[in-house]
Amino acid sequence: MKKISRLFKEYYLFILAVVIVLAVWEWIVQSGKVPPFILPAPSGILDSLIENREMLMEDTWATLQESLLGFSISIIAGSALGIAMFFFRPIERMTYPAVLISQTIPTIALSPIFVMWFGYSIWSKVGIAVLTAFFPIVVSVYDGLNQHDKEYVDLLRSMGAKRMQIFRKVQLPMALPSIFSGLKLVAVFSVVGATIGEWLGADAGLGYYTRRMSGNLNAEAVFSAIFLLSILGMLFFVVVAIIEKRVLKWKFEREEKKHEVMG
């Protein structure tokens, strides 16, 4: 209970803002300033959400799986590449441009290739999620690792530490703030990526649902799915932010002191 009231205290401004935005939005639509088939009223979205809740649950579950898989694979592969680039300059030289290029290619142009490789399994959607999420992880891991303090490295070297030990005990901890900054982006991107993947062919998922419903010209249903997508994305983000707070506890404690003082 105490926690809830603290949360409320922290976020009441946001809640207020949301309420105001929703009210204005509802009014704009109700008064006919924007036709509901382009931007449906919040009340209509809510109705549609409740009406189709069972179907939406299943689709949410499907998208959740794809994004989680995409997220996890991106983290593993992205960190691995970021670390490899940090350790071996030739790898950096060779792969950084390639990773960059991969980002500049519109996903839609790649979708036929993905279809060829992965067929219509879950992996084509996971593949697109990975493609979306991969790059920010690589950049934040690589840049983060380059942000360490040389003097700490010297200290460890003087103790005869091997490269991996220096990495684990200094470079990685010092890279964590930057890495978490990237992870927070990617938490959101992987949901978007999975959705785009579903646009390119799927049998379930919120992206699939929006596409069907937009074919049906059912804007309420489209926006109710978008609403759930936002919730998913925010959920991912919040989970990462909570983990960040735990892992960087020492950092946040120091900052808290600052906030107390600077208030």
Partner: protein, 241 residues
Amino acid sequence: MSLEIKELSYSIKKKRILSNVSLQAMDGEFLSIVGKSGTGKSTILKLAAGLLTPDHGSITIQETATSLGAAGFMPQKDLLMPWRTVFDNLLLAAEIQKKKQQKRQEAEMWLQRVGLFEYRDAYPHELSGGMRQRVAFLRTILTGKEVLLLDEPFGALDAMTKKEMHTWISSLWQELNKTIVLVTHDLFEAVFLSDRVMVLHENGTMDEVKIDVPRPRSKQMTPEIAELMNTLESMITHEEN
């Protein structure tokens, strides 16, 4: 010979930092290096620790060419890791040598000894400047190396703790027969602790002062010690004019 430096030269970006420096420390000797700021004292220690590679000359530690991990090294800054507790900072070298379990007790003993046991699980930012330096000093001792290279380890200690530390390190050094090379600006410290004090000049030459005061030495400033301090001071100053 524990540490032997021969005709050492070192430059950064074509700027000569050290030229033709030679230095020897016997087994179990306590050697101090003093000198004006910027003469390259810290650089000598870094070279000896294997952190830098000399342009010319050789450095051997216990008869083999120096290498990383060959000596215990304490840099001028405390360099405690903000994400580790005091205790975990102390065990850093032990972790690297994969002897964390064996060293736990020793680490705790040392924390007791310098009066920081209650800060065992505190994070560095919760300590005062002096406390942090003491933790950094303990971390170096806990590397367990035969040759310790200390760069102003007591610089930030308060007068009392400093004196205590002097006595301890002195007795510890005699007990364990370690070789210590100490860079300091405190001439009393240099005289009180050392067998020999080297005065480093900007041109790379060194003056040597033997401290033949019998141990255990008095913590008071005896005329003998004051005399030696004056000698050192004039040697350091000499070049200035």
